[in-house]
């Protein structure tokens, strides 16, 4: 189905409720709908048009037009089409029908704009706090434009996260907020009978860094790429690329071919080192430290290569809106080929070990199952989706950088377990090596930066999908005044994937939970609270910072040295 067909079908069904529909950029269909028809339209797009829900963004447009807006992003990947559903809301008390009842994957996205912008999703099934700290005062919405970026509300004591009640007879096993296999804080409360998980609850966002707020209140268009790169500690380049391409789409900047190829090369190098890093961590989770050490040893030359190209192992700082800041000179090409050849040989050996090692396969096969139906229902992305047989890859479906010119094999597995996700990543690693080779061979000559002297006017929109190692990364920008966006929305791949965890660990053994978590390669962000759960009584007690400090000093039953 082409974009024109999609337009025609939506128009036929919702003609009266639509106030606007146009193709903002190739494959990007933007429409505005009356608020009362929103849920029906979302149900139609998700249920009948087989669209995938991407994310929602709340917009505070009061300084421009006196109203709030919500944009729900959908994608029809086989048609290379993205559909943006805008609703405009009252500037005083913005309320919108929740689409979570019909699109379950919208759960977090709607809770997020409820907290950050104060746009209330009506009939949301789980309106608990998601992003902000538990003691954040009600009624303060930090992403509203009139909220200063550096305002710190007073901390409060005695406010707690409202955990779900465990089912009768189940004990609570906390995983997190600090846990050996979670490299960043996240808190899963597992409800356990014996060794079997019967349910779970999640609290995350422990240190929400307010990066989007900085983007629309402090930084300028060309400073944001450097902050965007720091969103993730492993796959930062995907974020700066994603932001830059969204901005370039908004401002209609044509990036020179050489810059697009260099982006592609860096993205694929990043995927290679990210997948090797993941493989090591996943092996460590199940106790296989030899694979951890060997995978990271194999990974090291790739890091050195990145340092030679960009001056840094991580945070390459190469992207600007309009192109890249550093070239990959011909002298480096033999070096790149040498590193790729070594990595390819050694990664092949590891692939052989992983696929052929009986105990390893025993620990991965059938673990953390996610059926194709669930994967589609929960809108998971990346290797998590491809391991469940969902044919989805932003490099092919929504081409960016130079991917439109580089043929790509999308790796699919049907089993939907941790083993499938592992094999998808390992085979992708091989595919990435061949992509870098192709890109180097075809690397065009020419400029690195686009010539752009004009001003970026306000009110322009741009989106970009980038296939990060963990899955699809999505950025949305709405340009504003003062050389900075009015709104910059980031959705990292772990955002949808983490929402699938409760489905994946239901009925699993406790021992399989860490590797199931590991198998989606989650990326969280740091915490300042501690919660204890008394397994005998099920009582939950949350200690605040002051109380903890006091307890530490008093030493209660401990012999204090002070």
């Amino acid at each position: 189905m082409t974009v024109t067909d999609v337009r025609a079908q939506i128009k036929e069904r919702f003609g009266d409720a639509l106030t606007r529909m146009d193709e903002r950029a190739p494959g990007k269909l933007s429409l505005t709908v009356q608020p009362k028809a929103l849920r029906e339209l979302a149900a139609y797009l998700f249920g009948e048009m087989d669209c995938r829900f991407v994310v929602s963004a709340g917009l505070d447009r009061r300084e421009v037009s006196g109203d709030f807006a919500v944009v729900h992003f959908f994608a029809r990947d086989p048609d290379k089409t993205a559909i943006e559903v805008n609703v405009f809301l009252d500037g005083g008390n913005p309320r919108v029908d929740s689409i979570t009842p019909v699109v379950p994957a919208a759960n977090w996205a709607e809770r997020e704009f409820a907290e950050l912008l104060g746009i209330t999703p009506l009939d949301h099934p789980d309106p608990r706090k998601l992003v902000l700290a538990d003691d954040w005062p009600p009624g303060m919405h930090p992403l509203r434009r009139d909220f200063p970026h550096d305002l710190r509300p007073e901390p409060a004591e005695g406010v707690a996260f409202q955990p779900k009640e465990p089912p009768a007879g189940a004990t609570v096993i906390p995983i997190g907020p600090y846990f050996p296999v979670l490299k960043e804080p996240a808190y899963f409360r597992l409800f356990v009978e014996g060794e079997q998980v019967v349910g779970c609850d999640y609290r995350g966002f422990y240190v929400h860094r307010g990066i989007e707020k900085l983007g629309d209140s402090v930084l300028t268009y060309n400073q944001i790429p450097f902050l965007a790169e720091r969103i993730c500690g492993i796959c930062g380049y995907v974020h700066s690329t994603c932001y830059c391409e969204a901005m370039e789409e908004a401002a209609a900047i044509q990036v020179p071919p050489r810059a697009r190829y260099i982006r592609t090369i860096m993205l694929e190098l990043e995927r290679i080192h990210s997948h090797l890093l993941w493989l090591g961590i996943a092996a460590h989770i199940i106790g296989f430290d030899t694979i951890l050490m060997q995978a990271w040893r194999i990974r090291e030359p790739v890091m050195w290569l990145c340092e030679q190209i960009s001056g840094s192992r991580k945070n390459y700082g190469m992207n600007l809106v309009g192109g890249v800041r550093r070239d990959i000179p011909p002298e480096l090409h033999p070096k790149i080929e040498e590193v790729l050849a070594t990595v390819e040989k050694e990664a092949m050996a590891i692939l052989g070990v992983v696929a052929g090692d009986t105990p390893l396969v025993m620990r991965l096969k059938g673990v953390g199952p996610l059926t194709r139906e669930d994967a589609i229902r929960l809108c998971v992305v990346g290797p998590t989706a491809r391991g469940s047989g969902v044919d989805l890859d932003a490099r092919r479906d929504h081409p960016y950088a130079a991917y439109g010119e580089l043929p790509l094999k999308v790796i699919l597995k049907e089993e939907g377990d941790a083993l499938a996700r592992t094999l998808v990543r390992l085979e992708e690693l091989m595919e990435s090596i061949s992509l870098v080779r192709k890109a180097i061979a075809q690397l065009p000559q020419g400029a690195l930066m686009a010539q752009f002297d004009g001003e970026i006017v306000h009110g322009l929109e741009g989106t970009c999908f980038v296939e990060a190692p963990r899955g699809e990364d999505f950025h949305y920008v709405l340009t504003g005044d003062g050389n900075r966006p009015l709104r910059w929305r980031v959705r990292a791949p772990s955002y949808p994937n983490l929402q699938a965890i409760p489905t994946m660990i239901q009925g699993q053994m406790v021992a399989d939970v860490p590797i199931t978590l590991g198998s989606i390669d989650p990326c969280f962000s740091c915490t300042e609270r501690l919660e204890t759960v008394d397994v005998r009584t099920g009582d939950v007690r949350v200690y605040g910072q002051e109380e903890l400090l006091r307890m530490t000093c008093e030493g209660r039953r401990c012999r204090s040295t002070r």
Binding site: T171, V172, I173, P174, F179, P180, V181, E195, A283, H284, I285, I286, G287, F288, D289, T290, L292, M293, Q294, R297, D357, P359, L360, M362, R363, M509, V510, A511, D512, V513, P514, V533, V535, R536, R557, C558, R559, T561
Partner: protein
């Protein structure tokens, strides 16, 4: 019951003082397999000294401090019941059973420690430890009884002498294999370090202890390395033997080291199994060891 004071000192001394070195060598091998340089082989001594020098925090349940002491004490007592190069220092009729009791007490102390830690991870670790103990202990028992049936004695040293004199019998080979297959679990090594499982339950039973208590707990694990492996090589691989204490002790320790290197190698190339998978495995090993015992009963 004759007691050999000098040999008692040697056995307990080796279990206490040599075993950290064995651990250090195993760590070094593991590091080499990882392509790492690894810690110096005396690192476990440093670790123990450091932990022993720390403040002993008496937090939590008072019984928590008792469990590691009980575990190490029973392991050391068990060390007096095993032949190391010669007859066991506390040798007596039926020392095989007493040995099994004492290693049992040591395991129960660890389970107890997890129970009194009042941590969900401790509970899970203890429950796993118990399942492993209950499925591994029969194998230990059956394999040693297989040798006892042949030797018509429950003295461990008689089993050694009998096996040395008679040469490898089919049933003894089967028993040896079965014993070796559960050695990894007895020593808390991969793929069976399920009760500790750092990445799943953060050390399990030991989660709430630190300082000197943790030192004793670790020391117990080090001592078990020597004791279980020594029983294995003495009873099931007694050759060669020249019946002089010092060279025989040297031979035994050499065989212990070689066996532990194999154990460390297996540890380095395996992931951790799930408890249910491990129990299925141990059940299979139990069946194999029972077959060995049946063969021993009909005399082969």
């Amino acid at each position: 019951m004759p007691l050999y004071p000098l040999m008692a000192v040697i056995n307990a001394g080796l279990a206490l003082l040599l075993s950290p070195l064995l651990e250090g060598i195993m760590r070094k091998l593991r590091a080499r397999i990882h392509s790492r340089i690894g810690p110096p082989i005396v690192q476990p001594y440093y670790d123990l000294l450091k932990l022993l020098g720390k403040e002993d925090l008496r937090a939590g349940d008072p019984w928590l401090g008792f469990a590691p002491i009980l575990a190490l004490a029973s392991t050391l007592t068990a060390s007096l019941l095993i032949p190391l190069g010669g007859e066991a220092p506390l040798a007596g009729a039926g020392d095989l059973l007493v040995f099994l009791y004492f290693v049992g007490i040591s395991a129960v102390a660890v389970i107890f420690m997890g129970m009194v830690s009042w941590s969900p991870y401790g509970f899970l670790g203890s429950s796993r430890e118990m399942m492993i103990y209950l499925s591994v202990e029969p194998v230990l028992f059956i394999t040693l009884i297989t040798a006892a049936v042949h030797a018509r004695s429950l003295k461990l040293y008689d089993l050694v002498l009998w096996n040395h004199a008679m040469g490898p019998q089919i049933s003894m080979v089967i028993a040896a294999i079965a014993f070796f297959l559960v050695l990894q679990a007895q020593l808390g090594r991969l793929p069976f370090d399920i009760a500790e499982a750092e990445t799943e339950i953060m050390g399990g039973p030991s989660i709430e202890i630190g300082g000197p208590k943790l030192a004793l707990f670790k020391w117990n694990f080090h001592a078990k390395l020597l004791i279980f492996t020594a029983v294995f090589v003495e009873v099931f691989i007694p050759w060669p033997k020249i019946f002089q204490f010092v060279p025989d002790l040297g031979l035994t320790l050499g065989k212990v080291l070689l066996t532990l290197l194999v154990v460390a190698g297996i540890d380095a190339v395996n992931p951790r199994l799930r408890i249910d998978q491990a129990i299925v495995f141990f059940f299979g090993v139990t069946m194999v060891s029972l077959a060995g015992l049946a063969l021993a009963l009909v005399g082969s």
